[in-house]
């Protein structure tokens, strides 16, 4: 493939928008891609699968200790019981934060991420700065997201090199005794399930609800 890396060719299409458009029409014309199937894929990951799934698991685990035990013991089955199954979630692992240990997830080689429970990864998760620094300087990376941890807290960075997919079970925020599962779910951000932030505090939720932010 002599032109494989040649970005200097002058003949159109030269820019990524045109290249992708050309590829799509070519694949559809050749019958290699079914147009409806393509829409189904995009729709699924843009609108149906997302971090609300993971937040459901986390809030349920905070609320129900039996479920939490199941979630830690066999995460793939526990997620499947709530209907969260499929691609990039075949082998889930849930890692629990404690007062003395904080977990953070990265994929230094590509962008492995638990799609079934978090959807597609955010741009920063796939970026070179995050992938390079999360393993070697996790504290400065956390600080960049406004997350400060005590020096005594052990940070465990999980580098997803295999098909195991890691989800962080964040610490349940204080001041949430007696909260319902639905209330708790509002505290579970996507970022807290990657481990780059902590779960929201009740005060943060109140601010958001009152539109002060």
């Amino acid at each position: 493939m002599p032109n494989d890396h040649d970005h200097d060719h002058t003949e159109p299409p030269s820019d990524i928008v045109l290249k992708v458009k050309a590829l799509e029409s070519l694949l559809i014309e050749k019958g290699l891609v079914n147009a409806e199937a393509l829409e189904e894929i995009i729709e699924t990951y843009e609108h149906k699968v997302g971090p609300r799934n993971g937040a459901h698991l986390v809030a349920k685990a905070w609320h129900d200790s039996d479920f939490k035990e199941k979630l830690l013991e066999n995460p793939t089955a526990a997620a499947a019981a709530l209907g969260y199954v499929g691609r990039q979630g075949e082998h889930l692992q849930v890692v629990e934060n404690t007062p003395s240990q904080h977990n953070l997830v990265v994929c230094t080689l590509c962008s492995c991420y638990p799609w079934t429970v978090l959807g597609l990864p955010p741009a920063w998760y796939k970026s070179a700065p995050y992938r390079s620094r999360a393993v070697s300087e996790p504290r400065s990376v956390l600080r960049e997201f406004g997350t400060e941890l005590e020096n005594e807290v052990v940070i465990r960075v999980w580098d997803s090199t295999s098909e195991m997919r890691y989800l962080v079970l964040p610490l349940r925020p204080t001041g949430t005794d007696g909260w319902t599962e639905a209330q708790l779910q509002q505290l579970v951000s996507r970022n807290s399930m990657i481990g780059i932030e902590l779960a929201k505090s009740p005060a943060e939720i109140n601010q958001t609800n009152q539109g002060i932010e």
Partner: protein
Amino acid sequence: MQGGHDLGGKQGLGPINPESEAEEPVFHADWERRIFGLTLATGMLGKWNIDQSRYARERQHPINYLENSYYENWYEGVSKLLVEKGLISEAELLSGISQQTVSQEFPVPTREDVKKILSSGGPTEMGLDVGAVFCVGDHVRVIRNFTHGHSRVPTYVQGCVGKIEIHHGGHIFPDKSVEGLVSGEHLYAVRFSGKELWRSDIRNDEVIIDLWEPYLRSSN
């Protein structure tokens, strides 16, 4: 291979500058949406597996890999596979115009097929005839690995000593899978101290990484 993708511990790549969670869209442009869908759709033709797909992105020149945005690398990867597998020609790729029909006959997934494929996924766990060499708690040293092929042992752990944390059982081995072979090896989560990896002063930070048995040697 130690290509542009092997980023763990690399320096000088700058700040992360994350978008806020509340504001970030799933896709930042329509072409990202399309190349994401096209990559998954063509992957479902069964002409290549996930390791071959990763390897297609990795074997770009490192400068291109790092300069490209994430989904530009997806475009590079999928277009390379389509040409290599003979599904499209280089000329067709550049023009976007079909010049020859595909000779092979194979099923192209419909919307209903896609629903099933996405929800069933592709588990990689497999039963193995041979027992695991290592147990939880064993100390292991990671091999130095200079293969030009696809591998999932990042440079930053090579030569370092860690401790087996979890035995995940047998899983498809990427180094063989990239050649189209379904062959399993025992997979372990191995824990390394930050001090071992980076000689850093913060001794209580750790990295846990999944490594297949052929990447490991006993270090008890």
